[in-house]
């Protein structure tokens, strides 16, 4: 009987642990930011070809 109870206790502990894991899902949040820390933009110029021509702003 004692062994039965102790094994039962072990099972319960495992079940509780699993339940705990299941209920606390990894949390992701809304985030935004830069992917290139060195990006300094582009200077667009009218004289160059095309409407979106420009040179890197280094």
């Amino acid at each position: 009987m004692k062994r039965f109870l102790s094994s039962l206790l072990v099972i319960l502990t495992i079940a509780l642990f699993l339940a705990g894991c299941g209920s606390s899902k990894k949390s992701v949040s809304v985030q935004s930011g830069s992917t290139d820390e060195n990006y300094r933009g582009v200077i667009y110029q009218d004289g160059l070809q095309g409407p979106e021509s420009g040179k890197p702003n280094i």
Partner: protein, 276 residues
């Protein structure tokens, strides 16, 4: 998933345990034997605790008395009345038990039991609401009574091992068999309940999904049904369980019913969610 409603979980489970315990001890003491005052103190205390806990659910507990004022159509009013009556009858029983008027004791005890059993019905009917498909069926009533009839005998069995007293009739083998049967019934009714919901509307299906996806549901199945089933089978076979076994049985069943009740409140998807 809306709210776990812990005050309601404890209130309903504890009040049902109290009535289940009464259902066990009232017939057993019908012969007039035993210390009634001591026996009825436990259910009276449990019921009082349950009702005090239920106040925590209210936004304005100081005005809880007003809940008695709409008996005409409110099951909640009726529930408060019936459990209040049960408690008063138990107190009265304890008081007259000292005066040793056995007939009066028996009458008031039986009345308390009757009022308590009706109180469970009122409790259940509160939740039989078309707006909550998961509740709006016979399962709610069945579940509430099953809680009473599982926890009552388990409590009785434990109390007898803990402090062997005059309230006999809590025979190990028979109780074990009864609990095992009730647990099997719980599992079967729960399975049929889930299939019923799965076949019902979209909100009911959401409840099924929430239940099956919840780790607490599976913990409840293992700890509240399967493990106690094993224990009660042991009890039935051996006819006499140790204090540890009866305690384990009580704790497992109580934990299982509490978890089950929390899921009952937490996963009842309202009809309006169908719009979201």
């Amino acid at each position: 998933m809306t709210n776990w409603e812990w005050p309601l979980v404890f209130f309903t489970v504890l009040s049902q345990m109290a009535v289940g315990y009464l259902a066990l001890v009232v017939p057993a003491t019908a012969g007039g034997k035993g210390n009634h005052a001591r026996i009825y103190l436990l259910p009276a205390g449990l019921l009082a605790a349950a009702m005090v806990i239920s106040l925590a659910h209210l936004g304005h507990p100081e005005n809880a008395y007003r809940a008695l004022t709409h008996l005409g159509s409110s099951w909640l009013s009726r529930e408060v009345l019936l459990f209040g009556l049960t408690f008063l009858l138990l107190v009265f029983t304890i008081l007259v038990a000292r005066a040793a008027n056995q007939f009066l004791v028996r009458v008031t005890a039986v009345l308390a039991l009757g009022s308590g059993l009706l109180g469970i019905l009122a409790s259940a009917m509160i939740y039989v609401l078309p707006a909550r498909p998961a509740w709006n069926n016979f399962n709610t009533v069945l579940t509430f009574y099953l809680t009473a009839f599982l926890l009552g005998p388990a409590l009785g069995l434990f109390m007898q091992r803990f402090s062997p007293g005059p309230a006999a009739g809590v025979e190990g083998s028979a109780t074990g068999r009864a609990l095992a049967l009730l647990l099997v019934l719980s599992i079967i009714s729960s399975l049929s309940y889930l299939s019923l919901l799965a076949g019902a509307g979209p909100e009911a299906r959401l409840t099924v999904h929430a239940l099956v996806a919840s780790p607490w549901w599976w913990l409840r199945v293992v700890a509240g049904w399967l493990a106690p089933l094993g224990l009660s089978y042991q009890l039935y076979r051996k006819g006499h369980g140790s204090l540890a076994l009866t305690l384990a049985l009580l704790i497992l069943l109580l934990a299982g019913e509490l978890m089950g009740r929390a899921l009952f409140y937490g996963t009842a998807v309202p009809l309006i969610e169908g719009l979201l």
